[in-house]
Amino acid sequence: MGADEVAAAIEAEAVRRGVVVQVVRNGSRGMMWLEPLVEVVTANGRVAYGPVTPRDVAALFEAGFLGGGAHELGHGDTDQIPWLAQQDRLTFARVGVVDPLSAQDYEGHGGLVALRRALVMTPAQICDEVTESGLRGRGGAGFPVGVKWRTVLDAVDLPKFVACNADEGDSGTFADRMLMEGDPFMLIEGMVIAGIAVGAHEGFVYVRSEYPDAVAALAAAIAAAYKAGWLGPRVLGSDYGFDLEIRVGAGAYICGEETAMLESLEGKRGVVRAKPPLPALEGLFGKPTVVNNVLSLASVLVVLARGAQFYRDFGVGRSRGTQVFQLGGNVGRGGIVETAFGITLGQMLERFGGGTASGRPIRAVQVGGPLGAYLPPARFDLPLDYEAFAAAGAMLGHGGIVVFDDTVDMAVQARFAMEFCAAESCGKCTPCRVGAVRGVEVIDRIVAGRDVAAGVVLLEDLLELMAEGSLCAMGGLTPMPVRSVLQYFPEDLDRSEGTP
């Protein structure tokens, strides 16, 4: 959004005025609607100004913003901005607050507490505590993290690996990126803890190539962590050794699927594997492997630093703790909203979203990425928890919430789901590889008004086949957004009446 230019403008203006300022490029607070956001550290705390453009900088100096002076872009104490104050920032507590690459800052803000604790626990104790916290995988599938770790711990084959899935390819999701750019040490610490818990001494982070800034931040943080002795042969002076390496993807969405990611890490085409065997038993290079999403590994720190019970007390039902939701698309106040599970979709959109950016009414919201359902306002009563969404034929996925106004053509969105699947399918199984192409054709025929009733029957048949017959979630879940359009927005598909 031009934050580099703003930072340069502030430094230049300070020099011009003979004022000494220290500009720290911290990660984003996740208030995307106020970006570029400038925070000034004053005697009364941090004061926020945004969205700031280079043209505003001189006026901000005039208004005395270095002392927290009033200006029309001013929002007062950052932490008191209601949008932020109403959140439960546990995993994202440091993001946007600390200098992401300062090891000292990290430790000063509660970093390493979890790792120090893990080093004096037995692996089984760590797995048990994580299981007790109720933490489920944040990548989308929602599998209990502690149970997965226990499976790897109990595996006898050696060596074992920790593989972090940072291939956050779902449109509408950006929490992994914000965390890697804003608090990369947190992911590093989480991976070391996962290693201790399962007996692995080697880890890989697979970051998508679309995130070059995250790759750079993480690489710098890994180098700093080696220097500080948080990685290497003696982690924090203990007898435990752990090495960590970044691998960069190459633009394949399917590599966000865990087995395709493992193939890619091995240097092969990102083609999914049949399960079983589970990656926990035969994963990277055929060895027992923990595969976790960025947010899962980061959330473990909260569990260990503050206790399983503390984490468990957030959330509802079987969805415990907090979820880092991401509000995007045509939304008034988009960004990172970390909150306990259980608030409704409507509350999320009302309290945080602030309507659409275009000012028009919301028509549909897609939750959970390109493979998630489109929901109409009539379903905004759904509570944000895994089970409630699953029961409604939808999914929370990685927590992305994409807002569309009433100009959206849902037939185009349904078609896009199939197009995307056709483009990104790894090609291994037929329901996905061929089904997606056929899906585009059937939808085109329906929209063209050629034998609509028969086309819908055929489409539903195809959706069932893809959902039941595909090897992985790519083909298996592509039907979800299409079905939701059939269910909630049938008028967009059947244009035989009304529309000319």
Binding site: M1, G2, E5, M32, W33, E35, E168, G169, D170, S171, G172, T173, F174, D176, R177, S209, E210, Y211, P212, D213, V215, E245, R247, V248, G249, A250, G251, A252, Y253, S264, L265, E266, G267, K268, R269, G270, F285, Q326, L327, G328, G329, N330, V331, G334, G335, A357, S358, Q366, P370, G400, V402, V403, F404, D405, V408, V412, Q413, F416, F420, E424
Partner: protein
């Protein structure tokens, strides 16, 4: 890495290629890092590199070719001097992404995946750059930009990614 590939390309040299590969040979599963490194050095993965990689990593040429053609980031030909990526994901679609994509192909005179005949520009589609609350999003020579509509895109392309 994606950034500024067009600015750093070196002419083909087998020696340089071998040296570039050598830096990654000791890694586990080195093929993808090796191909990335070659692309970063030369701007794309030259066909002449395929047998060298196969030999160095003790895999078949088909394996190397398979990986090279599977991943959309890996190029088999030289990209344009300015490289534009337009996000086609749903979050950007919700704020005018379709219109921006159409404008991009029309104004640059190339389809997605194409390079202008004069080598001035390469246009790629990308599915999500993780800037979903500030779309439509593009990158120009590796720099991420949000809230980009037709006029902003034209200005960015003209300036090679730097906002005036």
């Amino acid at each position: 890495m994606l950034s500024d590939v067009s600015l750093r390309q070196a002419p083909w040299s087998q020696e340089v290629a071998l040296e570039t590969m050598g830096a990654h040979a000791a890694q586990r599963g080195p093929l993808l890092p090796v191909l990335h490194a070659l692309q970063e050095r030369f701007g794309f993965v030259d066909a002449r590199a395929v047998p060298l990689v196969a030999k160095a990593l003790n895999v078949s040429r088909a394996d190397v070719y398979g990986v090279l053609t599977f991943y959309s980031d890996l190029r088999s030909s030289l990209p344009g001097r300015v490289r534009v990526q337009v996000c086609r994901g749903e979050a950007c679609q919700a704020v005018g992404g379709h219109a921006l994509a159409e404008h991009a192909t029309r104004s640059l005179g190339v389809d997605f995946g194409g390079t202008a005949v004069d080598g001035s520009v390469t246009l790629d589609e990308v599915f999500c750059l993780g800037n979903c609350a500030l779309g439509p999003t593009v990158t120009v020579n590796g720099r991420l930009r949000g809230r980009v509509h037709a006029a902003e895109l034209d200005a960015l392309v003209a300036d090679g990614g730097v906002l005036a």
